[in-house]
Symmetry: C2
Subunit: 363 residues, 2 copies
């Protein structure tokens, strides 16, 4: 039997540093748990543009389609800010999502006990928080046509199109209901059905799908009210399902509120492949943090926990995922902190690689 295959795309900024720590974890699983992976590495984002003039080479895209799972670090940086829109680092990531058809983006917003004090929210508001945002990832205003900047009369007009088909809404709603079934059977769907017809259709289709999940308590909320409620009392939610753009803002806000931003992984899942595994890409929620890149300051935990999600969702090793998650909890409980987890306390932070080593040791 061949080993499952992983494509690793460290990307830009702190991406390569945090991914180096993930490699240690992968190696540990190969050496100690009989879980060996065939790993290849390639470029995405600004570094791919530097080498190939495109943020994602066709060969890399083809590889991503073939492997069992993709692990991505982060893309982007000020160096690329003035690039033409079509070759910006982000286009590489967006192309991966679109062409792999990774329609369900799972973003847990979880508050780690050891870090509850670190949130800008009061402790009782966030302690124990554990919600899951399911964001539609391959459609909506991110990809809708027509789009662009056109001339009209004597001025330019910027245009983007929000577009959702019934089947696009249906499939991501099903992913969310399935997750809700495995969690607390509570799902809140967010849109702006009071303002946008695409939100009206969204609400209708989600309501329709809910008939197949009678055990799940479904509610609907306008996305602005959702943003408010996330800030006020996030524990009222369990699973949230929303579109690509709302999901972008709401999941980032939720992640920040936990105080554990450098800790949060994500999974982007598509339809099952021939081998039964879903097409899948795993990446941390945080960005490329160019301001601290290359200094050994980055927190590798979000990226490491993204690999834990891969173990769970791609390789059916929920037990090994839990092992890794517990190792992370232990290391935190033991007081290991990268710089982002220290605040003003004046303690000495551990480096990116010290954190990785500590987690390997805890395994």
């Amino acid at each position: 039997m061949t080993n499952p295959s992983l494509l690793i795309l460290p990307g830009d900024g702190i991406g390569p540093e945090v991914m180096a720590e993930v490699r240690k974890i992968i190696d540990w699983y190969g050496a100690n748990r009989g879980l060996a992976f065939d790993v290849t590495e390639d470029l995405v984002g600004g570094c791919a543009y530097d080498k190939h003039g495109t943020p994602l080479h066709d060969d890399t895209m083809a590889k991503a389609q073939e492997v069992d799972a993709v692990l991505l670090g982060a893309v982007g940086g000020p160096k690329y800010d003035n690039l033409d829109f079509s070759v910006k680092p982000e286009r590489g990531l967006l192309r991966l999502r679109k062409e792999m058809d990774l329609y369900a983006n799972l973003r847990p917003a979880q508050c780690f006990d050891a870090l509850a004090d670190f949130s800008s929210l009061k402790k009782d508001v966030v302690a124990g928080l554990d919600i899951m945002i399911v964001r539609e990832l391959t459609s909506g205003i991110y990809f809708g046509e027509p789009r662009g900047i056109i001339e009209e009369g004597n001025e330019r007009v910027g245009i983007n199109t929000q577009r959702y088909t019934e089947s696009e809404i249906d499939r991501v709603a099903r992913s969310a209901f399935e997750l809700a079934m495995r969690r607390n059977k509570k799902l809140c769907s967010m849109e702006k059905a009071n303002v946008m017809e695409s939100g009206v259709l969204w609400r209708e289709v989600v309501t329709e799908v809910s008939k197949d999940y009678p055990e799940v308590a479904l509610s609907h909320m306008y996305a602005d009210a959702g943003a408010m409620q996330l800030c006020r009392w996030p524990k009222q939610f369990d699973v949230i399902v929303t579109d690509n753009l709302f999901g972008d803002l709401l999941s980032d806000a939720a992640a920040m509120l936990t105080g554990s931003l450098g800790m949060l992984p994500s999974a982007s899942l598509g339809a099952p492949m021939a081998n039964g595994r879903p097409k899948a890409l795993y990446e941390p929620v945080h960005g490329s943090a160019p301001d601290i890149a290359g200094q050994g300051k980055a927190n590798p935990i979000a990226c490491i926990l993204s690999f834990a999600m891969a173990l769970r969702y791609s390789f059916d090793h929920g037990d090994e995922a839990t092992r890794l998650e517990q190792a992370v909890e232990k290391v935190l409980a033991d007081g290991y902190r990268t710089a982002d987890l220290l605040g003003e306390e004046g303690k000495q932070p551990v480096s990116t690689s010290e954190m990785g080593d500590a987690i390997v040791a805890a395994l």
Copy 2:
């Protein structure tokens, strides 16, 4: 000389209750400060639909175009949830904004000292917070064409269009820069220029306008990062300018974070009329709160402070606006609390009208 004219549209839910308190304030200014207004009242939202079959009658629309300022309570309620999109209560409000061309929506997010404990954020994160979000209000995905739900193949597709012209961006950017000049000369513009071409144009035009305001420090942030930063450390901002949809979510999140949601007013301003006053509509940030409507529980302060904004922005009575704002601060310092401002403390709340009376007394 004739009195300046006000059109009052209490709307639905708690709208009529809170507006009744504003009437007391208006009367006080007429009786005591020689500031008399010609006030007319009319319907908007669900109540207008109940009477006329439309959430905004053409006669009301015409009146709104003629008066010096419009004061609005709130619209919407579950009774109207299943109405056809075209006659939903919100359409009345959106028609007012669009036809009066109220392109600059000013939403202060301010933390009242007396209420800093009431935020879900830690006290040091919010105490003293005073930022202003300028939201574009008449364009973008709220109004762009094409829109609707169409049949395509054998399924339905929900479509909305984000559309911004250079001049639409230019004018709201100028409003924001003008405000920044009168405040701390710091402006942050938010879009998703990494994903949306309309955001690319937005960033370009705002940058262009900034040349006319060399004293203002301009920064740009992606809207998802903006949502995060608002949650993490809102005091880093002074004035924020953003589009209609991002502004909807971001300003609501910011308002909630202050802990002072029931306190926050807004102004929606358009171009100057023949008399030099801008077209203007003032409304509280909070919604119609149907769950507590008619029970005397609503907090009238947001609506009262909206009238203070009217005094400042429509009637050039900044001094009288400050008087009213100070009266509100005093009443809060004296311990007056409507139910929404009490939390779990078990104290006895004052009613909507008791709060209004106290503010009149403080004036």
